[in-house]
Symmetry: C2
Subunit: 107 residues, 2 copies
Amino acid sequence: MGRTPPHPDVSQFDLQLVLEALVDPVRRSIVSQLDAAGEDRACGSFDMPVSKSTATHHFKVLREAGLIRQYYVGTSRMNALRRAEMDEAFPGLLDALTARRTAVARG
Amino acid sequence: MGRTPPHPDVSQFDLQLVLEALVDPVRRSIVSQLDAAGEDRACGSFDMPVSKSTATHHFKVLREAGLIRQYYVGTSRMNALRRAEMDEAFPGLLDALTARRTAVARG
DNA sequence: CCAGAAGTACGATCGCTGTCAAACTTTGAT
DNA sequence: ATCAAAGTTTGACAGCGATCGTACTTCTGG
């Protein structure tokens, strides 16, 4: 569907949801890749050892936790890291987790 | 028993294990209480909504992730937060998670 | 208009983990 | 010696979530 999916507001960010999102290695890798890229990227452009349907699931979890913002460009769904807002809600958290320690594991 | 349980060395701290430990609300509460107390505390002295056997499980997970150090004093098992070592391995992580967000000012 | 590309939606597994109760161990006090 | 306190161990169970394949939708290019 072309409609924009629901995104939580910064005031509704929940630490529990954020941690549940970041505890998964695949999702943490997505965040790291997005952070390293410094620009928005399509779902399909990520290096991920899972199927497309599983990838969709991971992006949804990240979006609902407030970690990424998603919007369509043609058939591609773009993903933007909501770093400033995360830093506002949980100062230091993303810094601690994106510290070039990235390892992509098969889970 | 009575013997000291195994503790990982700082050089072997693993981010994945640490996050898996901290994603559980009960365990995060233990860490927060330990941090707020500023001193070692016995297992039974924590405010936890679970049974003793479940508590034992949580302390074990925290210990194996390197978040706490455990030692016996009489029949009590004391718990110490390994903050300095955690800060060394993952700078800013515990700070971000033990931040009291109810308060306003932050020095 | 049609084919392909990019994702989503939907079930269905399947393993993991948080939970408890019950039995046990160790220590300290009476 | 006995008893209670503090945890541990074991075994079982329930629910969640990561995974996949298949079918479906939407958009773009020819």
